[in-house]
Symmetry: C2
Subunit: 429 residues, 2 copies
Amino acid sequence: MIWPAAMNEHRTIPTPTALIADMGARARAAAAIVSQASTAAKSAALQHAAKALRETRDTILSANKDDMTRGTANGLSPALLDRLKLDPERIEGIAGALESVASLPDPVGELIDSSTPPNGLELSRVRIPLGVIGIIYESRPNVTADAGALCLMAGNAAILRGGSEAIESSRAIHGCLVTGLRKAGLPEDAIQLVPTTDREAVGAMLRASGLIDIIVPRGGKGLVARVQDEARVPVLAHLDGICHTYVHAAAEPEMARSIAVNAKMRRTGICGAMETLLIDAQFPDAAALVAALIEAGCEVRGDEAVQALDNRVVVVAAEDWDTEYLEPIVSAAMVEGLDAALAHIAAHSSGHTDAIVTEDLDAATRFLATVDSAIVMHNASSQFADGGEFGLGAEIGISTGRLHARGPVALEGLTTYKWIARGKGNIRP
Amino acid sequence: MIWPAAMNEHRTIPTPTALIADMGARARAAAAIVSQASTAAKSAALQHAAKALRETRDTILSANKDDMTRGTANGLSPALLDRLKLDPERIEGIAGALESVASLPDPVGELIDSSTPPNGLELSRVRIPLGVIGIIYESRPNVTADAGALCLMAGNAAILRGGSEAIESSRAIHGCLVTGLRKAGLPEDAIQLVPTTDREAVGAMLRASGLIDIIVPRGGKGLVARVQDEARVPVLAHLDGICHTYVHAAAEPEMARSIAVNAKMRRTGICGAMETLLIDAQFPDAAALVAALIEAGCEVRGDEAVQALDNRVVVVAAEDWDTEYLEPIVSAAMVEGLDAALAHIAAHSSGHTDAIVTEDLDAATRFLATVDSAIVMHNASSQFADGGEFGLGAEIGISTGRLHARGPVALEGLTTYKWIARGKGNIRP
């Protein structure tokens, strides 16, 4: 069973399971090669891919037009159509992102630590690529380039499975990545795109234990929930971003307003957006805080104490505390002190990002130590929860899991390590 | 549904699933407390436990006698009975191991790295406990103490499920750990022992996603295979230790003999024991190497070229290359150069430990870089593959998985990290 390396053509496939098994085996072989590739070769592949994107811009736009036409006919929502749409500026953005990943420090080969135990061995732990990464995503065609680039730069092979809405756009972008790999002398199988839109292919990826080392879902809650539920391969993801901001009694009022409005309203659709505001009962400026949110265009759903602050506050329901709105809506509770805030967060946080606003360093220290989330913040907006903002150069996603990598994940999270022991004929007594 | 904290008594349990759900919830609550416990409190708990072991030695020996009597009646093999058996010396060994873990550096709170990106946030990554660890083990009663101690020292709660053969011994040892926790003022639920020997309790642990963060199986291949197969919780383990030693053309002959004999024969039953010897066709002293193994009492199963070296070599079968003997048996192949050795290892290694013996540094460097195993060695015996030998002070196990922790795993592997972002009112533009 032989398929061309660049998976840009339609063809008859025996079964999704056989397809993924074949792609996985070829990815594994490619991974063995790219794991040893030089930084220069990996960077060159991404720079050539960026060039190819610019040179084939019209082809990509035409492929995207096909997706848009089909999407419009299929009644995709305006929001989905906007995510799907490419224009010259967005293509330039994708090319620029490739160049940016190409310039990131290469994590492969990094010495993590070393030691010489009493047995005389020279021991070291060295960072190596993870292996084969499966990316399952929805309608954003840029993920094809972003995810493929990050996987490659960390020395991995990638199997990309984009949403059916964006399949033509993804194929055109994937073609540019393959061009880049070829021009840099790297195996084209290092970044493969699943050629079928059959949903069963996703199931086959999720069961591809031994072929795929980790799956990263990129998309809405429905996709992530399905992946987490069905996967027999480890998953790096977050299901929800139910982020809290706790305004402590000793918060500086103007700072509290500014952070709360930014955390909620800068962009309401991102996973780091605040969904619940906890106001300390001793915070002296609570009414102005709630008013600032409402005046910024936010619906505030409050408990009785918050309702008493402003008659524009609407009644909160029990399920609001566990709801990720991703809209200009916030749930708000009045809490009696730090312990009550910690208890609320322990009960309702999704483990993504939670923040405290206070001038009291002891309270901040206890909050930062106690809240068991991937990211904890003091006097900052939770909207900063992002790999780029954290200096990682990019991100493959944000993980709320506890194993391997937590919070924003970029190149380092796509690596593992090996132990190297150097002896001089050492035998164990 | 209330059960006493110390799970030393028999009682009626509704179902294994309800039992594990209750233990998991209590472990989660205990984990929140021990995650914040001081190094001194955790150390004190283990030192008190060691004292309790010595003070209740006769009780433990009597419990162990019950296990031994039942085991003998049930026809356990002499090897299993030996693993099960405790005597004053072994109890002293367990107590000493507790004290040794108590003196290890505390990983919790360790600063992994820090940075200040252009947005001005003071960012740091800080090591924190993993949460709730499930340990599933067989007949060695010392695992109760070793595993419980490592989990606690890394700030975690542990749910221990020992083999039915050792249940009375495990209960007695677990009682000492609970004494230690109580005397140190830590929650007794931080180290729980599953009170039933019902095998369904293992299944319930393996499905306890959200309650148990990671499962570590300690035991034979049957146990590990079942755990890896059924678990819906991440598993840290190795199924096989099919360790290779490649004697390169430029190996120093005496060193090669010494390493090969040690790697195979020092202890044949451990996972780091050599199972396959690869001899380079250009290695000038191959016959003496094979003879040294045979004269040390090892059965050598060789391919035709190895058979030609010594008439005591027996014929190797295809399945031998994928067999972990754990006995004085080795499979041996003659290979045509480094690339052939690398190909053999890529095809048959279990990813545990593989070694090269050579005086050629270029060959060694390529071997260490290319072999994709948790541990790679140069001029050393694979029997060193052990947390204690690697300076970790102890080990919860050796992982051949690629995620989170690889090779020998001790305290650091039982932790994760959180991101802490400190601002001065920073909002995201």
